[in-house]
Symmetry: C2
Subunit: 376 residues, 2 copies
Amino acid sequence: MHFDLLVSDDKSNARAGLLHTEHGSIETPIFMPVGTAGTVKGVHQQELRDDIEAQIILGNTYHLYLRPGLKVIERAGGLHQFIGWERPMLTDSGGYQVYSMSGSRKIVEEGVRFQSHIDGSYHFFSPEHAIDVQRTIGADIIMAFDECTPYPCPYDYAERSMHMTHRWLDRCIEQMNQTEAKYGYEQALFPIVQGSVYKDLRLQSAEKIASCNAVGNAIGGLSVGEPDDELYAMTDLVCGVLPKDKPRYLMGVGTPVNILECISLGIDMFDCVMPSRNARHGMLFTWDGIINIKNQKWEFDFSPLDSKGKAYVDQVYTKAYLRHLIKCKENLGIQIATIHNLAFYLELVKEARKQIIEGTFALWKEQMIPKLSNRL
Amino acid sequence: MHFDLLVSDDKSNARAGLLHTEHGSIETPIFMPVGTAGTVKGVHQQELRDDIEAQIILGNTYHLYLRPGLKVIERAGGLHQFIGWERPMLTDSGGYQVYSMSGSRKIVEEGVRFQSHIDGSYHFFSPEHAIDVQRTIGADIIMAFDECTPYPCPYDYAERSMHMTHRWLDRCIEQMNQTEAKYGYEQALFPIVQGSVYKDLRLQSAEKIASCNAVGNAIGGLSVGEPDDELYAMTDLVCGVLPKDKPRYLMGVGTPVNILECISLGIDMFDCVMPSRNARHGMLFTWDGIINIKNQKWEFDFSPLDSKGKAYVDQVYTKAYLRHLIKCKENLGIQIATIHNLAFYLELVKEARKQIIEGTFALWKEQMIPKLSNRL
């Protein structure tokens, strides 16, 4: 796996590149739809490929480990085979899910003991185990096992946690070196920068991560409730340290505005549940702003869902029809809104990439920001 | 609207025909997927058309009247326009929904007062109102307002109810004659035979319905809990009275076996929630029998969902993957199972039609019956 940095914008830190994996190449900047339990909720794999034009999707190690479990995935020949997705995949390490279930887990130096949200059973993840599990799941890109600190987070805790995450990283790398890919294609480990919102910690962590010389690097511990200013400041700082010739993945971000701002700061890869989760509540992202389709104003609006949208759902369904479906909690409404939002996110990063290549990104971004956050 | 009876089987009462509507012709025998609230749950309109190959779908007057309401449907230009479905549609009259909510409705000669399941508000449907509402919804085929009797049903009640249904039918026909279609294409009213499981009542009701000289005729009040023997006996009896040159619609039926048996008795049109509802619980209908995909035996079965199935879901997804999705209550699992089941039902009636035309239906049906009810 390797990354070709194709174009660096001269008016911002935005970049356009190509990340080559054995399941195909990924045009960066890219957004990765989240497929928690081996499915992007409510979306067929062919819709993901042909309508949304996803180039890489995410799986969640924690969820897949619990269901269907490693035996099933291994006997299927890995997650790609199991779900029928031929393009690249990335799995998180389970660290974020562990963070988000604060009541039912215990973190110690050796690893994390947690309780299944399904049956209450106890499980233990160590850095080594997180690597073994991700070897079995078989994503192209796998993530180091880290602790994602909450926001706000006391300095002392953030510092101790960061050091532990660094020690865990060393153990992950060691485990990667001692094991092999199970399905005949390469898996690359991305280490994760932590350090909460503290500049010195972020710099220290970025130096550590940069020193690992990984195929790509990630920034974690953001998009956990901090103000956008902090998100951008930390991202900017870390991008200044992470190597230019490696892709940079900002985990869990964000709104369309967040994505354009962070592309501008030098981020190449994003994932977020927002487009799919908010779709389920009737929130649509468009080039003209944000639509809450439940609002009365759309009741008699028989215009296409999104006249500027390129997904078929944008043209064949109307706002009034989607409103009806979402109000009735009909699955088709969720499906339509999810395809729309994910297709929009992919269109957004595709257009950003085009603007970067054409040298017009910075100006274009400034024009887009106020539109994208507009409430329609 | 008119019906061409093309072939009558000489070893059974099965028939093959063509029902012509202004939204296209329907090859009979046909199965009509149920799209309760303007959506076949979890299925995109293009999947319904291209993958399931539905030729006509059903809408439920009761549900559509409550949500999105008549104003929205009328301003959209009718239900076809509102949901984006260009092929024929049929609406029930609301009678069945009223039957199934026995606790919150009151039936009198004038009509039915009922309470909304959504907000508890009170509404009144008369035969005239049921016609007006269906004029506004705008389906090609609309149904007479009837009372669907429960099973078991005392003779006295069934008799009184049948006579009221007949009087309501006269009022429906009168209202049809006094009103016009709203959207420029013809709507045909199908009257409904009632009479519970009493031969004399069924014969009397069939005579009444036959005398109306409608474009097509329906049999209601079955598939409400009676044994299959009663279903077949009543269907056989009524088919003997209803005119041969008009399509016969058996409402709410049934399993694949029920459908083949009733085609053999002379039925041309079917609808049932079974393929879509049971899909949501992981029950799949196939040419080899019934699969409960939740069973452990499918956990490691990485073979295609249905090797004999013609829908794309049958070939691109595996049994083990669908099992995982259904066990996790993932919407995609419901979507896959629903497309499979509906495509199978459409394939079943298409094959039956082919066998009727080739003169091999009776033999083929006898070979199919044991297979279709087999539990895999």
